[in-house]
Symmetry: C2
Subunit: 198 residues, 2 copies
DNA sequence: CCATGTTTTGTCAATAGTGACAGAACGCAC
DNA sequence: GTGCGTTCTGTCACTATTGACAAAACATGG
């Protein structure tokens, strides 16, 4: 239901909602902000809010979604013969991280965010990520139909590896971006030639 | 919030809810049945309904959850030295499928179930599945702490492979249980020694 | 400017899902 | 059986989400 921007008008509405949400989230916390407040601040009806963002949390993670698009393009731009693992790694690490935003989100998460919702959203992100990789592989395959299983398996495993890295990172006491990168890199390369644990 | 059965009393309530839900789902369809109706039929309040089943759809997939417990036990019972892929495969295929129930669900799904909710639930199931495998691997590891990444990566990839098999199966015209088994088996063995697509 | 088809919003009315708090039911020691 | 701590339920109130339908805002050819 979270439709992509169609007209300039709707893009203005989305922007207004994003702004309003950011202000509220930072000022009073995510769970303490109601969708209704955001809609009111943005000067639109609650229903319109939900037309643009499937849920309150979609809005919180709006950047992730934008990032996904970026990721898809980055993947498409990788050289033809390159190994998937390489391509994915390159695409991830070339991402123009807004360190400040990441930090902000990380700190929010610790305190006031319902863990269940985060977990649910991370699963969704992983799923989208896997789809992106799958499409990338399919685009390069001579016969995507015939290779459907191999492609799907590979895509999902690549995504699984990256998010496994994240999971391990999240459970650590100290969490530096460098560590996260290292974990994801290790996870990815470790599956290319077989499962790390047999 | 979907707490496990604690007392005989609560188990009776759960059972009543399950029965009521099954009747309604079959009679008038899933999306056309409200949580309130189910609660009323079972003679409990709506709130109690949500205490036992996190959502209306958890109830629909209650069997899957029971299956997960079964799966965990089956994994634990596998011989110590066995390769993960073997153990998981054995555990999956030893499962006492209620073919009739599976068929019933499959037919429901096709028609009256909101695809988004199914997808969301499948993601959750995959996540639980991965956790089960992770715990299994951790139990067998000499030093789970040190191997955290390898274990997490492996567990998630194993789950990814199985569900990749399901995904491909779902997209087929003809869907036989034998095909599903074959796809999952192929998917699993294909990742043990490296990604099927590099 | 006007008529008309499309896109975006708003309104209305339900259902879904949760937190907080109080009462009821249960299990157990005495 | 009584007292008491634990578990399960009901009630209340509120936020989250969505479907259906109508009004408003836009874009466009004439």
């Amino acid at each position: 239901m979270a439709s992509p921007p169609q007209t300039a008008r709707s893009e203005r509405t989305r922007e207004a909602l994003r702004r309003a949400a950011t202000v509220r989230f930072l000022a009073q916390g995510v769970e303490e902000t109601s969708a209704e407040q955001i809609a009111a601040d943005a000067g639109v009806s609650l229903r319109t809010f939900y037309r643009h963002f499937g849920s309150k949390h979609d809005l919180l993670f709006a950047d992730y979604d934008a990032g996904l698009q970026w990721f898809r393009r980055a993947l498409a731009d990788r050289p033809p013969g390159e190994r998937v693992v390489e391509s994915v790694q390159a695409a991830i690490f070339a991402f123009p991280y807004d360190v400040e935003a990441v930090t902000q989100i990380a700190s929010l998460r610790a305190d006031e965010l319902d863990p269940r919702r985060i977990v649910r959203h991370m699963r969704e992100v992983q799923s989208d990520f896997a789809h992106a990789v799958r499409d990338h592989l399919a685009r390069r395959s001579d016969d995507p139909e015939a290779e459907a299983l191999a492609i799907t398996v590979t895509a999902r495993c690549v995504a699984a590896a990256v998010f496994a890295g994240m999971e391990v990172w999240m459970q650590r006491e100290e969490r530096s971006l460098a560590d996260l990168a290292e974990l994801c890199r290790t996870a990815l390369t470790s599956i290319e030639n077989g499962l790390p644990v047999r």
